[in-house]
């Protein structure tokens, strides 16, 4: 067995905005990966969207060469920046599986947050050595001592060796590098054994085709080798092997303990099953590495082209996006109200928003989005079970024996003064308290909550009632039987299928009233009265009326104004294209999603 002692594989984990990406950039800079000119802010957030939203969506990896102070030797450090949002928790767990240790970045002015905890638990599950790092000490509000205590109390990590750093100014970042070398273990693995490499991630690059991120466990992956994917049995000759520095740099091989990329003429990421084991087809191992549990879409919504003739374009665009993100699903859907579109499943709301935004931006599509729904399990009287992704497909209630809905386990961290409101919110959303503990002035509440209560706007509401101080993370828990009903919405006495929703019977009336009231504001006045009703079956549970338009007439209009006024009229007509016609009523596209937001704003 050869020596892997000069390698360290580590992930950076943190609550969102605590400074992962900034720290990663500093580490790259210190190791000379890029010169200052090439150093763009937040180098690793490469997608436009990632840059704009300041979030990391995909895990990123970089190889750094670092000369340690303690022994003057050159170490190969493989760094992984991980996504910070709860929707992408599965990405975090994959990245962690490729490393032996983690840098836990905690904002010294904020302290431990919900995703700090969620990430730490994942790192512990992955048997990681964890180095806590206190970031943002340049901020006046930073309180290193307090946050250290909090980390020890809440997480139980030793912080005696932790230093306060500023990823922004670079203060003490060199010490972080040194502690990676001294405190994290090198990988283990046999260089001479049969090839065993883990497929950590893959993505589609329009120039390069599919790029696969790998972590080699044993043996050596070489250019030219016929590589076999153990799950699918597919064999591909490897065209290119290399590492990110962060620029792509080709190498001849990747050996046990190392991380890097390979390219093998694969057409679609769907052919690369994340967590699969790759081996040498000529000299294969029989032992597959433990895989990952597949990510399952938990939130579904309908996406419809505004312009019905864009249906094919939408189909192609979804297919293209899926080349790069196999975690969302789509299937054709028809709606009486909205025509042809797709029912799409996502990992969470942010994921949903990101896909929608990419469709609109990269493919120039105008979309109507229907309200997100979770997946219900319908146990029918005939003994069968069907999964319901779309309230419009709800079977006749007499044929349903019982319905189960998904629940999550949510962890919320919040300063004491907002705890009351947060607990009230959880109760209002049918939450069941499982734990409530305090660390300093912060409380940690653990709740079981039905997923359908949080998909619309729980996070927004939580942020607004806590003035942005609460943080939140959740894990899927289980399915539980529940008394659920479908509420249909009638506009001008016609049911609009895209507005139907499923709610707990105790909330149906309230929700129905809320939605009717919202629609009253969202649908512009017409030249006639428009009644809006919510109904369960044939029973009307809420009702509002949009009064007829009273005044809309140009005061002065003479000879010179004709062209201008005609243009205005044309615009008024044009504006109608942003509406959907239901009988005689026009509903703005945005109403479909806005109507179902539950907050009182």
């Amino acid at each position: 067995m050869s020596d892997l002692s000069h390698i360290r594989n580590f992930a950076i984990i943190a609550h969102i905005d605590h400074g992962k990406s900034t720290l990663a950039d500093r580490l790259i800079q210190l190791c000379g990966g890029l010169d200052d000119r090439e150093m763009k802010e937040q180098l690793l957030d490469s997608m436009d969207l990632e840059r704009e939203r300041g979030i990391t969506i995909k895990a990123q990896t970089v190889r750094l060469l670092y000369t340690a102070k303690r022994d003057g030797k050159v170490y190969q450090l493989n760094l992984m920046d991980t996504p910070g949002h709860v929707d992408f928790a599965y990405e975090v767990s994959r990245s962690l599986a490729a490393c032996e240790g983690s840098l836990l970045v905690v904002d010294a002015s904020q302290g431990v947050e919900a995703q700090t905890l969620a990430n730490v638990y994942q790192a512990i599950d992955a048997n990681h050595e964890i180095i806590p790092v206190l970031n943002k000490v340049d901020l006046p509000a930073a309180d290193v001592a307090r946050v250290k205590t909090q980390i020890e109390d809440v997480i139980g990590l030793d912080t005696s060796e932790s230093v306060g750093i500023s990823a922004k100014t670079g203060l003490n970042v060199d010490q972080v590098l040194e502690s990676i070398v001294t405190r994290l273990p090198p990988p283990t693995g046999d260089l001479n054994a049969k090839v065993q490499a883990m497929l950590v991630d893959s993505w589609y690059d329009s120039y390069l085709g599919v790029v696969i991120l790998v972590r080699v466990r044993s043996g050596t992956l070489k250019k030219g080798m016929r590589m076999r994917m153990m799950q699918t049995g597919a064999v591909h000759p490897i065209d290119k092997v290399g590492v990110f520095t962060p620029k792509m740099l080709e190498t001849d091989s990747l050996s046990a303990g190392e991380m890097g990329f390979i390219m093998a003429g694969i057409k679609s990421v769907a052919d690369c099953s994340i967590g699969d084991t790759m081996t040498d087809d000529r000299n294969p191992t029989t032992e597959a590495l433990p895989g990952f549990k597949p990510s399952i879409p938990v939130v579904w919504c309908g996406l419809f082209p505004v312009d019905t003739s864009d249906f094919e374009l939408l189909r192609d665009s979804l297919a293209k996006l899926r080349l790069n993100d196999s975690s969302f699903e789509f299937q054709m859907e028809t709606s009486a109200a909205l025509g042809f579109g797709f029912r799409c499943g996502f990992l969470g709301l942010l994921h949903m928003e990101i896909i929608q935004e990419r469709l609109e931006r990269e493919f120039d599509l105008d979309l109507i989005t229907t309200a997100p729904s979770v997946v219900y399990k319908m146990y029918m009287t005939d003994g069968t079970m069907m999964e319901l992704h779309n309230p419009a497909d709800m079977p006749d209630p007499v044929k349903i024996d019982r319905i189960e809905e998904p629940w999550v386990k949510a962890t919320i961290m919040v300063p004491d003064e907002y705890l009351g409101q947060v607990l009230a919110l959880c109760t209002e959303r049918r939450g069941i308290q499982m734990d409530l503990t305090y660390a300093g002035a912060r409380a940690m509440a653990v709740y079981k909550l039905p997923l359908n209560e949080i998909v619309f706007d729980f996070y927004d509401r939580l942020k607004s009632i806590s003035r942005g101080y609460a943080s939140f993370d959740y894990d899927m828990a289980d399915y539980t039987e529940s008394n659920l009903v479908r509420v249909s919405i009638l506009v001008n006495n016609e049911p609009v299928d895209a507005l139907a929703f499923i709610a707990h019977h105790s909330q149906a009336e309230f929700r129905g009233r809320q939605i009717c009231a919202r629609l009253k504001d969202l649908i512009p006045r017409h030249m006639f009265k428009v009644p809006i009703q919510a109904a369960i079956g044939g029973r009307v549970i809420a009702r509002e009326t949009i009064a007829a338009l009273r005044k809309d007439v140009t005061a002065k209009c003479y000879g010179g104004d004709i062209s201008r006024k005609k243009k205005l009229l044309e615009k008024q007509k044009e504006g109608k294209k942003k509406m959907r016609q239901f009988g005689r009523v026009e509903i703005p596209q945005t109403a479909f999603i806005n109507a179902l937001k539950m907050g009182d704003d």
Partner: protein, 400 residues
């Protein structure tokens, strides 16, 4: 210039008439709500302007000869045409009367601002041929006049009305209402006072915030608020009610007259007749032949316009061909503003297309069943219920 026009045979002119609009682009000060083409300058060379306006008139009219039009109205608008030298007005009227045969009841209107005219000037305008005055009174309340940035007060307004009344058989005045904080009671009192002032024609406009005006910025900043939709509707209905009862029903959205005293010139716009536009920023619509119409727009800035006239004989900036369908849509849009509505016969005569060709059937059936529109003897007209929401109604009716 455009020789083709000379070959065109006589254009059948109907009761919609044929008018000449002359624009005078100067004012003493710029009102904060006004987006008309008006400018404030230190000095005006009246000789130069008189010649240039006549030149523009001659050049444009030369291209219409042989089409057999009869001039039914002249409108001197602005800006503040009461600032024109009376002999300029006289010269223009005389020239127009040389260029076209004139109707026996030729209407010649001049817009006048209180405070810019004394009795002598009014008389000179009358001698020049003006037979109808339109006065920009705007309000009879001093505080409102101040808010509207007017240079005159209520007293000056009443004095101007007295002078107008003593010299002209026909005069009209403008009022702006639905002002910030204006109550129904306040407006009713003001309107009732207006009714005592002896005019057979009144233009009453709800204050509109136009882009590019001082009020636009102020309104966006929230310096003042306007009546909301319900208040504005109530004010509108009250106005129609009071004026109709007083014998001045609305013949157009904002224009009221004793029957027979309507502005013949403005009716041309609303009925879809031809008009020639002379002066900076003026627009024109002229039927060319069965294939369409010509829309003209002149340069707006006074200096640019003057230079164009000097260089080319006319200040026109743009001439576009308007196909019959497009003109028919304009006729629908403008005609629905009239109490009499749009005439199918006239539309057919002028454009070759009928209402049925340009109207959205679904929109029509909706509007009918809601009682917003009615069709009788070939006239399509918005009902009392339809007028207040005419923009939405027109959008629903029009196929674009």
């Amino acid at each position: 210039m455009d020789n083709q026009d000379h070959r065109i045979k006589t254009i059948p002119q109907g009761d919609e008439g044929f008018g000449l609009y002359i624009h005078w682009p100067f004012c003493l000060s710029k009102c904060p709500y006004c987006d008309f083409n008006s400018h404030v300058v230190d000095t005006i060379d009246h000789g130069v302007w008189s010649q240039a306006l006549i030149k523009d008139l001659e050049t444009q009219s030369a291209r219409l000869t042989g089409q057999g039009r009869i001039l039914t109205s002249i409108f001197l608008g602005g800006g503040t045409p009461s600032l024109m030298a009376p002999n300029t007005v006289a010269a223009l009227i005389d020239r127009a009367a040389d260029l076209w045969p004139t109707a026996p009841d030729l209407e010649i209107t001049l817009e006048a601002n209180p405070g810019t005219v004394d009795r002598d000037r009014f008389r000179d305008f009358k001698l020049a041929g003006v037979n109808r005055l339109s006065l920009g009174i705007q309000s009879l309340d001093d505080r409102a006049l101040q808010f509207l940035g007017r240079v005159h007060d209520a007293k000056a307004a009443l004095a101007a009305l007295d002078t107008a009344r003593s010299l002209f058989d026909r005069f009209s005045f403008d009022l702006i209402y639905a002002r910030p904080g204006q109550s129904l009671e306040d407006w009713e009192a003001e309107l009732r006072q207006a009714l005592t002032l002896g005019s057979d024609h009144l233009s009453v406009y709800q204050l509109t915030i136009e882009q590019g005006t001082r009020f636009f910025g102020a309104y966006c900043r929230g310096d003042f608020t306007l009546p909301d939709e319900d208040e504005s509707a109530d004010l509108f209905l009250l106005t129609r009610d009071i004026l109709a009862t007083a014998g001045l029903p609305a013949y157009e959205v904002s224009n009221h007259a004793r029957p027979g005293q309507e502005s013949r010139h403005n009716l041309i716009y609303w009925r879809g007749g031809d008009y020639l536009g002379v002066g900076p920023g003026a627009h024109g619509r002229l039927r060319v032949d069965a294939d369409g119409f010509r829309a003209t727009v002149a340069h707006r800035r006074p200096e640019s316009w003057l230079k164009r006239v000097a260089d080319t004989g006319t200040g026109l900036k743009e001439e576009t061909h308007i196909p019959p369908r497009h003109r028919a849509q304009e006729m629908l849009m403008m005609g629905l503003r009239l109490a009499e509505g749009v005439s199918d016969t006239r539309m057919r005569r002028l454009t070759g297309l009928g209402l049925a060709d340009i109207i959205d059937r679904d929109g029509l059936s909706m509007a009918r069943s809601e009682g917003l529109i009615e069709c009788e003897k070939g006239q399509l007209r918005a009902t009392e219920a339809g007028i207040p929401t005419l923009n939405a109604l027109t959008a629903a009716l029009m196929i674009i």
